[in-house]
């Protein structure tokens, strides 16, 4: 797993995080290409099931990026998202997974540099954690099947 390139899903709210990602691009600030953004109107829309399904389908890490606390365009969508992320983290812990595979990050629309920095930090963290356990199981199965 030396050259492990994780697959990371970032659920970004339209008003802040998605705009910040565009801002990073327009300032030509680089961040790991591992991060793939799925745009949602508000992080409050992100359901625990979305995060879990992303992990089930093969994501090595998932983060939800919304507006700064107190700045949510829908009042408290981002604080609700934080609760849900924390809930998923506990659930992962019960499963014996690393809870750090999921995270909640807050930023404003103007924080392009911050977007890039957190994308890098999260990717580095997932690299340290290694691949999604499901993928390892699947690979093992495949290998067994082959042998």
């Amino acid at each position: 797993m030396k050259n492990f390139e994780p697959e990371i899903v970032a659920f970004c709210c339209h008003y802040c995080a998605y705009t910040a990602a565009d801002m990073a691009g327009s300032k030509r600030i680089s961040y790991p290409s591992n991060v793939k953004i799925i745009r949602i109107p508000c992080t409050g829309k992100v359901d625990a099931i979305h995060i879990m399904k992303a992990l089930e389908k093969g994501a090595d890490g998932v983060y939800v990026a919304g507006c700064l606390e107190g700045d949510c365009h829908f009042k408290n969508g981002n604080t609700r998202a934080r609760y849900r992320v924390e809930h998923v983290q506990k659930y992962l812990e019960e499963l014996g997974w690393e809870p750090e595979r999921v995270a909640m990050i807050n930023m404003s629309a103007g924080m392009g540099e911050f977007f890039a920095r957190t994308a890098l930090e999260f990717t580095q963290k997932i690299k340290q954690l290694g691949p999604n356990p499901i993928k390892i199981i699947n690979t093992d199965k495949n290998q067994k099947a082959v042998s």
Partner: protein
């Protein structure tokens, strides 16, 4: 093929505004008017609109490609039923007066019927010599279309160069050639006129010292833009003209033909060249090679715009652009290598240095051409001594002739954001000569009916933009096309060049129809900027607008990963997978609408807020003007005179009287905003008002923020420790109130950038250089014997302010330069003030004893206010606490939340005139919303599936806006007209009975499937 409708019949019953000049300013003015349901005639002498901006490679400070940023604006034109675009047309004569002008327009023959032309290019292939336009250095001059997104999209023929007309007619399959096309003259009625003809750039070939036009590798700033441009002569390769090799060392020489007193020079500053030279230097390093050495020779770096100082710092610190303060006399070419040597004086050492460069760029500024002087005569407007339009003392868009307004560079040199602000202001003023907006009835505008796609299997068309080199230069478009073609349900997959250009749009529209597509994926730039455009496109093609998905291949891929093309391609595949898989689950949706509240809230009762309030009130709009202090007036009340010598006080008193007397304005002083709710077009804002702080709720459709900035009072240079160490504002008050005290002085010292352009407050305060010079001139007028010293870092007297700087120097005001790492020191001993400063010319520290020390402290954002309001209204701020507009270039007064606008110093430091312009602009932009009777809420609303709802009340508790309720049938109901579309209820619903339309769970799952398609 998109066509401009000729809607002459629409126009006959309503009066129009005539906009002359279709550059970016004219387009903005015309669009603002059309969006406010005003009829506009936009004429341009060229065969397609866009002006100078379309020739630029990228624009500062975002370094975006201009074509992409301007093209949505250009094609917006084609949607407007109130807009009549007349290319190749000039004004011959204007008679009559405000409200009742008669304009005679002359249209040159195009020899092509633009309604028939499909822009296939066959005529050009066979008759390449019939070409009129050569952008920059382009030797190929591929077409008469100046750039791929040309509007209107049609060729134009130079008939004199066509030998065989019959052969030309045969070549055209569309039968669009009109060989006997003739000049047409028409007369139109106009209530008012907006002049936005821009200016030319100075041609340095008339100077013999820089070798422009003689030396291959000496180019102008615009020519350098063309060389770097993907649509330029070298297809976007940065190469020298002489040997087509990439240069290793490039130099820029600033102020060529500007700020000079020599033959062919103009005395004013062109205001934009410092920024464009920085931009060109940064882009050179960023796009071509980090190793290319870039050097800028300058007199003063004038980065006075919002956040522009940060751009300068980035250029110096992050990109290593070399800055040399020197004005080289000449360039000498080595006849063999074609290299160029520049000899320049080194500031710190008393010697001259000679250095060789591979390329030299001459930063040339704006000039008013003879044709504009002639046009001004025909319009009957006066010009200033520099031949720019002469304007009102306190309103830069008002000319000497009533009913004729002006915007953009023809008023004074300026950059694109300022042009946009003036354009919106001029449009707003021009509209005030028409019947009030509230009295204009609304007309219907319908597209063709939507095709019913229910029950059909997805048939997807994938269209991938290369965006010039922005996408195609990093990842292989063909590979993406090939990849997309292998995805399920994709029946069409193809590259479209610039997807937002008119021809590509027409091609996509045709493809949707001929292939009977029912889903569309566009791989291009951000949906934030271009989604509406492509939604309109699929709508025109008969599809519901929610059946298109935009995949962000540029802003979130090739721009961010330009250094890792392999990774970028892999990511592009995955993003396309997400988009294609997701669009399969898209459903046709209906937009929700609600009636618009046509009142306006203006926050801040300074000069900006009052001006905006009056302008809106004049249109019959009810305005609430909320001011926290007990009286109107703001910071401008403490300013006495402008640099031009105009009295501010009578003007302010008049303004306050007008506002107080206006029936449509309710002034609420001693009022603070305490709560806010609602949606754009239907806001509710709670205030506490009056001495007793009574609560009051205001209903309004739009909000203009004009809360101003604060005078800065930093703890520097002994400010506050001595009575004679003061700010410029205090000095100005003394000049006004106690000239005797000034007369008693022998020496006055001023220190610039006190507390600005420093690490903890990095931006330039913009106003201080002209304030210092204004006060210096006034002191000199009181007593010419007073010695005045201005200690500065760069003098930033942009535009015509340069005249006052020159006057001050001529009158003997001493200007001494210092640097950030060697600032002056102030000593107070026995009540005497001494200033120590290094004099570069003398090469030693000098001591100036002074009677009075004025510090140019400038402005600072009102952090507390902007923080409170940004929390309340959910608006972003800049790092130095000013409000952050939606787009620094194209939407400089609009905020990211619809219905919010900013103006004045709450946006960034600026003069009274500039604040007033922005106030008119914000009022104009607000009218584009208020002119509509309905608000479109979009379709992203939550919907309850009653068969799954258990009436558990979780959604009722979860909704931040208290919208859901249990209806008489016993299940949850969410009113689509009230739903804000956040989707919080959908996420919380345990039965999954709620779906947020356009973001349904199966769509999100499908997107994840698209991303991990290869893994599961």
């Amino acid at each position: 093929m998109q066509k401009l409708k000729n809607i002459q019949e629409n126009k006959s019953n309503g009066r129009s505004v005539l906009v002359i000049g279709g550059g970016v300013g004219g387009i903005r003015a015309a669009l603002d008017l059309a969006e406010s349901r005003r009829n506009v005639i936009l004429i341009d002498k060229s065969y397609s609109i866009g002006g100078l901006m379309t020739q630029l490679d990228r624009t500062f400070p975002t370094n975006n490609c201009d074509l992409c940023t301007v093209s949505p604006h250009l094609s917006e034109n084609t949607r407007q039923i109130h807009l009549d675009l007349k290319p190749m047309t000039q004004l011959e004569q204007l008679t009559g007066e405000t409200g009742n002008f008669e304009a005679t327009l002359v249209t040159e023959p195009r020899y092509i019927d633009i309604d028939k032309c499909t822009a296939c290019g066959e005529c050009h292939k066979h008759f390449p010599e019939a070409v009129r336009f050569t952008p920059g250095l382009d030797p190929r001059a591929p077409t008469c279309m100046r750039y791929p997104q040309a509007t209107p999209y049609a060729f134009s023929i130079d008939m004199e160069k066509v030998g065989d007309i019959e052969a030309l007619q045969k070549v055209c399959k569309a039968d669009a050639i009109i060989p006997d096309d003739m000049q047409k003259k028409i007369t139109v009625e106009a209530a008012s006129v907006v002049l936005s003809v821009g200016a030319e750039l100075f041609d340095p070939a008339v100077l013999d010292n820089f070798g422009s036009g003689q030396f291959d590798n000496v180019v102008t700033g615009l020519e350098y833009e063309r060389i770097m441009s993907a649509s330029g002569p070298f297809q976007g390769d940065l190469v020298r003209v002489s040997d087509k090799k990439q240069p290793k060392k490039v130099a820029w020489i600033q102020c060529v033909g500007s700020r000079g007193i020599n033959k062919a020079d103009v005395p004013y500053c062109s205001g934009v060249c410092c920024m464009y030279a920085l931009k060109e230097a940064i882009v050179t390093k960023e796009r071509f090679a980090e190793s290319i050495e870039t050097t800028i020779f300058y007199m003063d770096m004038r980065t006075y715009g919002k956040d522009y100082e940060l751009y300068l710092n980035r250029a110096k610190n992050d990109y290593g652009v070399k800055m040399i303060r020197s004005r080289p006399h000449s360039i000498i070419e080595n006849s063999e290598t074609k290299n160029l040597s520049i000899t320049y004086a080194v500031e710190e050492e008393a010697l001259q240095k000679t250095e060789d460069f591979d390329m030299v760029v001459l930063s040339t500024g704006f000039r008013i051409p003879e044709t504009t002087i002639d046009l001004a005569n025909r319009l009957g407007i006066e010009l200033n001594p520099h031949n720019f339009a002469k304007t009102d003392h306190f309103n830069p868009v008002v000319t000497s002739k009533p009913g004729v307004y002006v915007c953009g560079v023809v008023e004074s040199p300026k950059d694109i954001p300022e042009t946009m602000v003036q354009a919106s202001a001029a449009a707003s003023m021009a509209a005030s000569d028409l019947p009030a907006i509230m009295d204009v009835p609304e007309s219907e505008n319908d597209f063709m009916p939507e095709r019913d796609v229910s029950g059909e299997e997805p048939k997807i068309g994938v269209f991938i933009c290369d965006c010039g080199l922005e996408i195609g230069g990093v990842v292989d478009v063909d590979k993406m096309v090939e990849f997309s073609g292998t995805m399920p349900h994709v029946v069409v997959s193809q590259a479209v060049g610039y997807g937002c250009s008119s021809d590509s749009m027409a091609m996509i529209e045709a493809s949707i129809k001929t292939n009977n597509l029912n889903r569309v994926v566009i791989g291009g730039c951000s949906p934030r900027t271009h989604e509406t455009k492509f939604q309109d496109l699929v709508r025109r093609a008969g599809l519901n607008k929610y059946l298109v998905e935009i995949v962000n291949l540029r802003d979130q891929n090739t721009w961010a990963h330009m250094g890792q093309p392999r990774e970028a391609l892999d990511k592009a595949f995955k993003l396309l997978g997400i988009g294609i898989s997701g669009v399969c689950k898209s459903r046709p949706l209906m937009d929700q609408t609600l009636p618009m509240n046509q009142n306006a809230l203006v926050v801040g009762g300074g000069v900006t807020g009052m001006t905006a309030a009056l302008q809106l009130a004049g249109q019959g709009i009810k305005v609430y003007l909320v001011e926290r202090s007990p009286a109107l007036g703001g910071l401008a009340k403490s300013i006495r005179k402008t640099i031009e010598g105009d009295d501010v006080r009578p003007f302010m008193n008049q303004l306050i009287d007008d506002v107080s007397a206006n029936e449509n304005i309710q002034v609420l002083t001693r009022s603070i905003i305490v709560d806010h709710s609602g949606i754009p077009g239907r806001f509710k804002t709670g205030i506490q008002t009056g001495p007793r702080m009574n609560y009051m709720q205001l209903d309004h459709g739009v909000t203009i923020l004009a809360t101003g900035a604060l005078p800065n009072r930093p703890d520097v240079y002994g400010l506050g420790t001595h009575n004679s160490i003061v700010t410029q504002l205090e000095l100005e008050a003394l000049i006004e109130n106690d000239p005797k005290k000034i007369k008693a002085m022998n020496q006055v010292v001023m220190i610039q950038c006190a507390g600005s352009r420093e690490p903890d407050n990095p931006n330039c305060s913009r106003i201080c250089c002209q304030t210092a010079i204004k006060n210096a001139l006034r002191i000199h007028a009181i007593d010419p014997d007073i010695q005045i010293f201005i200690l500065y870092r760069d003098i930033r007297t942009y535009g015509f302010q340069e005249d006052y700087y020159r006057e001050a120097r001529n009158l003997g005001v001493n200007f001494i330069k210092f640097s950030l790492d060697n600032k002056p020191e102030v000593w107070v001993e026995n009540d005497r003030i001494s200033v120590f400063v290094d004099d570069v010319i003398l090469g030693r520290k000098i001591q100036i004893e002074t009677d009075y020390l004025a510090l140019s402290t400038g402005m600072i954002a009102d952090d507390e206010t902007t923080e409170d309001l940004s929390m309340m209204f959910h608006l972003p701020r800049t790092s130095d606490h000013y409000f952050l507009e939606d787009h620094v270039k194209l939407r400089p007064v609009d905020m990211s939340v619809r219905g919010f606008f900013i103006a004045g110093t709450t946006h960034s430091p600026k003069t009274i005139r500039e604040s007033i312009t922005q106030a008119y602009a914000a009022a104009g932009r607000a009218q584009t919303l208020l002119a509509k009777k309905e608000i479109n809420l979009g379709a992203a609303v939550a919907k309850v599936d009653s068969s799954k709802c258990a009436a558990c009340l979780i959604c009722i508790r979860a909704c931040p806006f208290s919208i859901p309720f249990i209806n008489e049938d016993g299940y949850s109901y969410i009113d689509p007209a009230k739903c804000q579309g956040c989707g919080i209820c959908a996420a919380d619903c345990p039965a999954k009975a709620i779906q947020l339309l356009a973001f349904e769970d199966d769509q999100i799952m499908a997107k994840l499937d698209g991303l991990f398609g290869g893994l599961n």
